[in-house]
């Protein structure tokens, strides 16, 4: 009898052996990470664990000292521009340029990402997150929640295969955070977008992501479902794991 071997789709993101040192600080120390097509992955860890540096290396903004990153089959840094067309990025801490209206800001990035129909993508993106009324607002008139929503619209207009979000719901009210989460879930379900997200909100992460990668002192220390990761550290939930790693880091 012949065994049927089902080929898995190639990962949309592959990173191997990432190392980054800043003067006397070892920020990242040998991180391996793959994200499959449509997979939703959380990258968690205490402050200073190396999450943001890892994300920035994956986005080609920071050059690793060692290791490599490949997005959609495009190896960085040589094919950075092609790789960038496959990725959308938003961060809760990034403001909107104050001299631009929301529609102008989105139009700029639609053009930079090469959206097929920039104006249509803007309308659909604003509608998905129920912020059509903000289209003509200036960037500096928005609340932090509204800014985050606009940032996510910007990151998704070109239908990326991978959406990378750094602390997307940090400092948001629970209702706005829920709207962000729901919008991301809908997007991933409808378009098969893979997700790589960092967050300090463990409940949100468990709802949003099917796979958890914990990073501590620049190294991946756990990779699996939320239940697997909690069990591995002998804790009840992800928050327990987080607190345990944060305490270890302080010692």
């Amino acid at each position: 009898m012949l065994a049927v071997v089902r080929e898995l789709p190639p990962p949309v993101l592959r990173a191997r052996g990432l190392v980054k040192r800043y003067k006397r600080v070892q920020a990242v120390n040998g991180v391996d990470l793959s994200v499959g097509a449509g997979e939703r992955v959380a990258l968690l860890g205490p402050n200073g664990a190396g999450k943001t540096t890892t994300l920035l290396m994956m986005l080609g903004v920071v050059t690793p000292d060692e290791g490599w990153v490949e997005i959609g089959g495009h190896r960085l840094p040589g094919a950075r521009s092609q790789a960038a067309t496959e990725v959308g990025f938003a961060a809760g801490y990034l403001p909107l340029p104050e001299a631009l209206r929301v529609r102008e800001f989105l139009h700029l990035f639609g053009e930079l990402y090469g959206s097929a129909d920039t104006d249509g993508a803007i309308e659909r993106g604003l509608a998905r997150f129920r912020i059509e009324h903000l289209a003509e607002a200036m960037g500096n008139e928005l609340s932090s929640g509204q800014r985050t929503l606009v940032g996510i619209v910007k990151a998704t207009m070109h239908h990326p295969r991978l959406l990378i979000l750094d602390e997307p719901t940090a400092s948001l009210d629970p209702d706005v955070a829920k709207r962000v989460r729901t919008g991301i879930e809908d997007l991933c379900a409808e378009e098969g977008t893979a997700l790589l997200v960092t967050s300090h909100n463990m409940i949100e992460v468990e709802r949003l992501c099917e796979r958890i990668v914990f990073i501590s002192a620049g190294q991946v220390v756990a990779d699996g479902t939320a239940a697997d990761v909690a069990a591995r550290f002998g804790r009840d939930d992800l928050e327990g794991v987080f607190l345990h790693l944060a305490e270890e880091g302080e010692r």
């Binding site: 980054k20 903004v61 340029p97 930079l112």
Partner: protein, 262 residues
């Protein structure tokens, strides 16, 4: 290179110019002040020197051509600085936008700014002092072309310095040309300068461009040999500026300097 991305960058800076009144200082206010200042000094000197003096023409052509360098330099440098001030740098660095497309976008926008800024000086010079820069004729075209490339190159060097040093280097967007202006002999021949500085002045491509412009103003033919040296020097400067900014961008990525702007 994507023309669509180049246009998007140029349009983004057009919005900034529309919405930030302080940006009109570089484009309108300084050109008006310079035209008035140098035109008036020229008239005064011409009165002292008597009939036939070229003081007004030399000073006004000098400041007008200097504004070609200034406007092209400042559009590249402040274009980049705007991204750092508005903390938009990370947003841009994660897009498919290539470095050459970004520079081309700021250059494209800069050409519009240049037309505006130089247009203001030219109009003021004509209206207030009856000086018409187009009297130089077609020789103006190669002269302006060389000065444009000098301005873009200096702009790239400033961007490289900001990438490496951070916001502390921003003052050089205005300050670097403040050194170039007197050393280039924009208003006088180099041989009136202190002896030691003459060697420095002769190395600068701008010195030869301003000298060539004065030759044409005096009614003689464009000294192509001198302009050729200026073009050669400008070519070397342009290559060096591209190499420098590329290396500084690599250092920026290697050292994680994006953290300064997030």
């Amino acid at each position: 290179m994507s023309w669509r991305r180049v246009k998007a960058v140029a349009r983004r800076h057009m919005y900034v110019l529309q919405r930030k009144p302080q940006r009109w200082f570089d484009v309108v206010l300084w050109p008006v002040v310079d035209a008035l200042l140098f035109g008036s000094i020229g008239v005064y000197l011409a009165r002292q020197a008597g009939p036939g003096s070229q003081g007004v023409a030399v000073l006004l052509s000098g400041i007008l051509l200097f504004h070609v360098v200034f406007q092209s330099e400042i559009s590249v440098a402040t274009g980049f600085m705007e991204e750092t001030w508005s903390r938009n740098l990370l947003n841009l660095l994660v897009t498919p936008l290539r470095e050459v497309e970004y520079v081309a976008g700021t250059v494209l926008f800069g050409l519009a700014k240049l037309a505006l800024g130089v247009g203001v000086v030219g109009t003021m010079a004509f209206v207030l002092f009856a000086f018409n820069i187009t009297d130089i004729g077609l020789a103006l075209v190669p002269i302006i072309a060389v000065l444009l490339v000098v301005g873009w190159s200096v702009g790239l060097i400033v961007v490289g310095l900001i990438l490496r040093v951070g916001q502390g280097a921003e003052i050089l967007a205005w300050g670097l040309l403040a050194f170039v202006l007197p050393l280039s002999g924009a208003f006088y021949p180099v041989d009136v300068m202190p002896a030691g500085l003459q060697y420095v002045a002769r190395v600068l491509p701008t010195t030869h461009v301003f000298a060539a412009a004065r030759v044409v103003l005096s009614g003689r033919a464009l000294p192509w040999g001198q302009l050729g040296w200026a073009a050669l020097g400008t070519g070397v400067l342009a290559v060096l500026s591209v190499v420098y900014v590329t290396r500084m961008l690599s250092a920026f990525r290697a050292r994680g300097f994006i953290s300064r702007y997030t």
